[in-house]
C-alpha cells in the first residue's frame, strides 16, 4: 500500500522549516519512528520521524528546501497485509538490545572483563577480585560518583539497588536501605535493641482528609520518649499480667486516721505504703528486682531497690524514682514521694531523679478502674498496677462480709519470671497489705 508522508506540526506557531539533512533515500527500508529528515525552524532543529514502517518509494524534497507544514515529503510503500503491517510498524517491542554495554565511549573491547588476575603476592589481605566495571544492563546505574563509591566500599552491587529519585536516580539513602533490607533478610530480621526506632516503626498513615479534617500537633519530648520506650517494650518483652486483690480496710483505716492532723507534705498515701511493701517483696523475690542481659546470657540481680512511681503530668507520663526504699521507713518514703510527685508535675524534676529504677508502681486508683495491664518499663522486669479500692462482699466461711478491697495487677517479663513466681510475688504483697507483720518477719 502506498502512503503519503506529510510534514506534521512540529511546534506551535511554526509554519515552515528548512530541511537540514535528509537521512533516507529512495529504496530505504524504514521503521516506524525512524527519523526521515531533520528540519530547522526558527525555534529548533527537529527530527521528523516516519509514521509507519515501509520502503521509501518517492522523495519530494531535498536538503536546503524550505517546506511548509502539511507539504508532502515522500511516499512510503507499506507491507501488503494489514496484520503484517502491524507487526512491522514497531508496535510490538523489538528484540531487546544486545547485551553489549553502552553509554559512554569507555566500552571498548579492552574493558571487557578478564578472568581475574591473581593478586599481587604482597597483598595477602586484598579484597577478592572486583570487576564492577562490567555493565550488566545496556544502561548504566544512575548514581553519582559519591554514591557509587559508597556502594563499592560497602560491597554493594549498585546495579541491584533500586533508585528512588527522578529517573530512577540512586541516592545514598537508597544504598543504605538496600544494605539494611539485605541484612535483615540475611539475619532473619534481627535488629539490635539499642537502635530500635520505636517511633519510626510505623506504616504510612492513610489520607484522613477523605474522612474529615484533622489538626497536627507536635509530639512533646516526653511523648516521643514514651512512644519509643513503650513500643520497644511491647515488641521485645513477652509480658504476662496477673491480677489479685487485697482486703485493705484496716490499712486504710490506719492511713486515714494518721492523715487527720498532718500537713500535706506528711500526707500518707497508699502508694507510699505499697512502695515499702514492694521493697520488702523484692527482697523475698530477688528475680523481680533484676535486668536481663541476653547478649551475655546473664541475669543482673540488683542489690539496691529503687522504685519508680508513674506520675501523670500535663505533658505526659514521668516516672520519678525513690532510691533505696528498702532502707527507708514509710513515713520518709511518704514525704519523699509527695515532694517528688509535686516537683514532677511542675516539671522541676532533675533528669537523674528519673533514672535508676528497678521496679515501678503505677497507681490509677485515684482515677478509677477495676484492673489494667501496665507495661514493663525496660530494663526493669516487672511493674505493679494499682486500681481503685472498693467495698466488696467477701465470703468469710459462713457468710458475706463487706470489705474494702484493692485490685492489683502485676505485669512481668516472662523471659525472667515464670507464672508461679509472679503469682507468689503478688500474693505476698496482698497478704502483707492484709497482715503488715509480714514486713518484719524476716528482718
Amino acid at each position: 500500500m502506498k502512503q503519503e508522508i506529510k510534514l506534521p506540526e512540529v511546534s506551535e506557531g511554526v509554519r515552515v522549516g528548512t530541511v537540514t539533512s535528509l537521512l533516507v533515500a529512495v529504496g530505504d527500508q524504514v521503521k516506524n519512528d525512524q527519523t526521515l529528515l531533520e528540519l530547522e525552524t526558527d525555534k529548533a532543529v527537529v527530527a521528523i520521524p516516519s509514521p509507519l514502517a515501509g520502503t521509501i518509494s518517492e522523495i519530494h524534497i531535498s536538503e536546503g528546501d524550505v517546506v511548509e507544514i502539511g507539504a508532502t515529503l515522500m511516499w512510503l510503500e507499506t507491507a501488503g497485509e494489514a496484520a503484517e503491517t502491524k507487526a512491522e510498524t514497531g508496535m510490538l517491542p523489538e528484540t531487546p538490545p544486545a547485551e553489549e554495554p553502552l553509554g559512554s565511549p569507555t566500552e571498548t573491547e579492552t574493558t571487557v572483563p578478564l578472568p581475574p588476575p591473581p593478586l599481587p603476592p604482597h597483598h595477602p589481605t586484598a579484597a577478592p577480585v572486583d570487576l564492577t566495571g562490567i555493565r550488566r544492563d545496556d544502561r548504566v546505574a544512575p548514581a553519582s560518583p559519591t554514591v557509587r563509591r559508597m556502594a563499592r566500599e560497602l560491597g554493594v552491587d549498585i546495579y541491584q539497588v533500586q533508585g528512588s529519585g527522578p529517573g530512577g536516580r540512586i541516592s545514598i539513602e537508597d544504598v543504605r536501605a538496600f544494605v539494611k533490607t539485605t541484612m535483615q533478610r540475611a539475619t532473619g530480621g534481627g535488629i539490635t535493641p539499642s537502635e530500635f526506632p520505636g517511633l519510626h516503626a510505623q506504616r504510612p498513615l492513610p489520607d484522613f482528609s477523605r474522612f474529615g479534617t484533622s489538626t497536627r500537633e507536635p509530639l512533646s519530648r516526653i511523648r516521643e520518649l514514651t512512644a519509643d520506650s513503650m513500643s520497644y517494650a511491647w515488641s521485645t518483652i513477652p509480658m504476662v499480667t496477673q491480677y489479685d486483690k487485697a482486703v485493705v480496710g484496716p490499712v486504710e483505716e490506719f492511713r486515714q486516721a494518721r492523715n487527720n492532723g498532718t500537713g500535706p507534705n506528711g500526707k500518707l498515701t497508699m502508694t507510699a505504703i505499697l512502695i515499702k511493701i514492694c521493697a520488702a517483696a523484692l527482697r523475698v523475690f530477688p528475680n523481680l528486682n533484676s535486668a536481663l542481659d541476653l547478649a551475655e546470657r546473664e541475669l543482673l540481680l540488683h542489690d539496691f531497690i529503687n522504685i519508680g512511681v508513674a506520675v501523670d503530668t500535663p505533658d505526659g507520663l514521668l516516672v520519678p524514682v525513690l532510691r533505696n526504699v528498702d532502707r527507708k521507713g514509710i513515713e520518709a518514703i511518704a514525704g519523699e514521694l509527695n515532694d517528688l510527685a509535686d516537683r514532677t508535675r511542675r516539671r522541676r524534676i532533675k533528669p537523674e531523679e528519673l533514672e535508676g529504677g528497678t521496679f515501678t508502681i503505677s497507681n490509677l486508683g485515684g482515677i478509677g478502674g477495676t484492673a489494667f495491664t501496665p507495661i514493663v518499663y525496660p530494663p526493669q522486669v516487672a511493674i505493679l498496677g494499682v486500681s481503685r479500692s472498693e467495698m466488696q462482699p467477701i465470703w468469710n466461711g459462713t457468710g458475706f462480709e463487706p470489705q474494702l478491697v484493692l485490685p492489683l495487677s502485676l505485669s512481668y517479663d516472662h523471659r525472667v519470671i515464670d507464672g508461679a513466681a509472679g503469682a507468689r510475688f503478688l500474693r505476698w504483697i496482698c497478704e502483707t497489705l492484709e497482715q503488715p507483720l509480714n514486713l518484719v518477719m524476716k528482718n
Partner: protein, 465 residues
C-alpha cells in the same frame, strides 16, 4: 628526570605522559615509594610535548587570525596580520616548558625517583633500563604501572621527512607551507589542518570514509563542515591515498576515488594523521603474562590490572578513547589500587572535544548509537541562532543536542558544536555523572547571556508546556 637507577622500587611507573605522571604523583601522595621512567627530559609525554598542548597553542594563533578577519565584518578594521613564525614557535615552546617544569617540580617535591630512559620487562618483577646517557641497569619492582602511550601510525612503506610529516612534525612548525595535504579526517588532522589553514596554508583534507570525525553524530559534524568547507581548500571524502612520493619541490600524491578513478596532485607538504598505535611492542611483554589484544592495546580489568599480578596499564596503551583525561582517570584508579584501595574505573561519560572552529564536543550516548541499539530516546536539538551570547560573539553556527531516556527523562548523552563547545561540555559530563534528568537541566539557573543557556533551552524543549 635524572636520578640514577635504584636497585628496587615499591612502584615503578613506565612512561611520564598524563597517565604516567599523574599515577606516579597520586601513588606518592598515597604513601608509596615511586620510580618514574621516561625518555623525555621532564614529565609531560605526548600530551605536553607533541599533542594536546602545542596543538592548542597553534589553534590559539589560528583563532587570533580568524577573529581579526571576523572583526572586519562588524566594523573593526586592523591591518592584515603578519606572522613571525619563529616567535610563534618560541611562544609555543615556552608554554610547554612552563608546564613540564611545573611537573618536574612536583616530582621533586613528592620525592619521586625519576629516570631519563626507557624500560623493558625482563620478567614479571624486573625491568631492564637504558638511560639517555647510555647507562644500563636493572630494577626490581613490587608493582608496576605501564603508561607508555601511543605514537602516530604511518601509511605502509612511508617514512616521515622534511615534507612528509606526522602530527609531531607538524607541531614543530618548521615553516608555513603554501599547500598541504592532510591525510585523515579525524580530530588531529582537522585541528592541525585548521591551524595551518588560518596561518595561510591552502589545506586539502583527504578522508577514506564518507565523512569527517567518525564516532561523532552527523548533525554535529555538518555544522563544523559548513565552516571547514570555507577554510579548507577542499575536503575529499571517499578518497584513498594510493601513493606518496617525496620530490625535490613537493610531494606527489596519487588519489583514488570511490569509483576507482585515479588522479595525481602535488603538495608542498603532507601531514599524515590516520591514527595512533599503542607503544606495546618494545616493552618485553613476552617475558610476562601480560596480554595484548589484536590492536596492540594491553588488556586490563576495571581496576586497570593487567593479566600479570601487580602490573597495571593506563592511558593510550590501555585502549580507546586515546585521550589525556581518560589517562588521568585511569591513573587515579591504578594508583589507588596499587596502594591497596578499592577503586574502579567506571565513568558514566568520557567527554570528547575537537578544538576546531567551531568546536565539537560530546559525551555519553550519541544519537547514532541510540538508533543503532534501538533505544527509546527523546532528543532536543537547539540551534544557537537564537542564543544571545552566540550572536554577540558575532557567531550563529552552533547546536546543542540533548538525548534523554524516553521513559524516565534521564540524560543519556549530550552533543555540542559551536565556539566554546569544549568548555560547555563539562556541565554535561557532571550532569551525566550525577544522573541528572531533563527536568534537572531545565530547572537549574544558567547565567545570561551565555552559551550555556542553550543547554537550559534545549532541556525546555523536552517538555510540552
Amino acid at each position: 628526570m635524572n636520578d640514577p637507577i635504584p636497585p628496587q622500587s615499591q612502584l615503578v611507573v613506565i612512561g611520564a605522559g598524563p597517565g604516567g605522571y599523574s599515577a606516579a604523583f597520586r601513588a606518592a601522595e598515597l604513601g608509596l615509594q615511586v620510580t618514574l621512567i621516561d625518555p623525555g627530559e621532564r614529565p609531560g609525554g605526548v600530551c605536553l610535548y607533541r599533542g594536546c598542548i602545542p596543538s592548542k597553542a597553534l589553534l590559539h594563533v589560528a583563532k587570533l587570525i580568524s577573529e581579526t578577519e571576523e572583526a572586519e565584518s562588524i566594523g573593526v578594521r586592523s591591518a592584515k596580520p603578519t606572522l613571525e613564525v619563529q616567535k610563534i614557535r618560541a611562544w609555543k615552546n615556552g608554554v610547554i616548558e612552563t608546564l613540564t617544569k611545573g611537573l618536574g617540580g612536583k616530582a621533586d617535591k613528592l620525592k619521586l625517583t625519576t629516570i631519563c630512559g626507557t624500560a623493558r620487562f625482563k620478567d614479571n618483577h624486573t625491568l631492564q633500563i637504558s638511560t639517555a646517557t647510555g647507562e644500563e641497569g636493572q630494577l626490581v619492582f613490587k608493582q608496576a604501572i605501564i603508561a607508555t602511550g601511543s605514537r602516530p601510525v604511518l601509511l605502509p612503506g612511508i617514512q616521515t621527512g622534511k615534507r612528509i610529516l606526522d602530527s609531531t612534525g607538524a607541531l614543530e612548525l618548521a615553516d608555513i607551507p603554501k599547500t598541504m595535504l592532510v591525510i585523515g579526517g579525524g580530530y588531529i588532522g582537522l585541528e592541525l589542518g585548521s591551524a595551518y589553514a588560518a596561518m595561510g596554508t591552502r589545506v586539502s583534507v583527504v578522508e577514506m570514509t564518507a565523512d569527517l570525525l567518525p564516532g561523532c553524530d552527523r548533525d554535529l559534524v555538518s555544522v563544523l563542515k559548513r565552516r571547514l568547507d570555507k577554510n579548507f581548500n577542499e575536503i575529499l571524502l571517499n578518497t584513498r591515498v594510493m601513493e606518496l612520493k617525496e620530490q625535490k619541490n613537493g610531494v606527489a600524491v596519487t588519489f583514488e576515488d570511490k569509483k576507482g578513478k585515479q588522479s595525481r596532485r602535488r603538495f608542498d607538504k603532507v601531514l599524515m594523521a590516520i591514527g595512533r598505535r599503542p607503544n606495546s611492542e618494545e616493552l618485553g611483554l613476552d617475558n610476562t603474562s601480560i596480554r595484548i589484544n589484536e590492536k596492540g592495546f594491553i588488556v586490563v580489568d576495571g581496576r586497570q590490572r593487567t593479566t600479570e599480578a601487580g602490573i597495571f596499564a593506563i592511558g593510550d596503551i590501555a585502549g580507546e578513547p586515546m585521550l589525556a583525561h581518560k589517562a588521568y582517570g585511569e591513573a587515579h584508579v591504578a594508583a589507588a589500587a596499587a596502594a591497596g584501595q578499592n577503586s574502579i574505573f567506571d565513568p558514566r561519560a568520557i567527554p570528547a572535544v575537537v578544538f576546531t572552529d567551531p568546536e565539537v564536543a560530546w559525551c555519553g550516548l550519541t544519537e547514532t548509537a541510540a538508533r543503532e541499539k534501538n533505544l527509546k530516546v527523546k532528543t532536543a536539538k537547539l540551534s544557537w541562532r537564537g542564543n544571545g551570547r552566540a550572536l554577540t560573539l558575532g557567531r550563529h553556527d552552533g547546536m546543542t543536542k540533548l538525548i534523554v531516556d524516553a521513559e524516565n527523562d534521564r540524560l543519556l548523552g549530550v552533543g555540542l558544536v559551536g565556539p566554546g563547545a569544549g568548555e560547555l561540555i563539562a556541565e554535561a559530563v557532571l550532569a551525566l555523572e550525577m544522573a541528572a534528568t531533563g527536568e534537572d537541566l531545565r530547572t537549574v539557573i544558567h547565567p545570561h547571556p551565555t552559551l550555556s543557556e542553550t543547554i537550559f533551552d534545549a532541556a525546555q524543549m523536552l517538555f510540552r508546556g
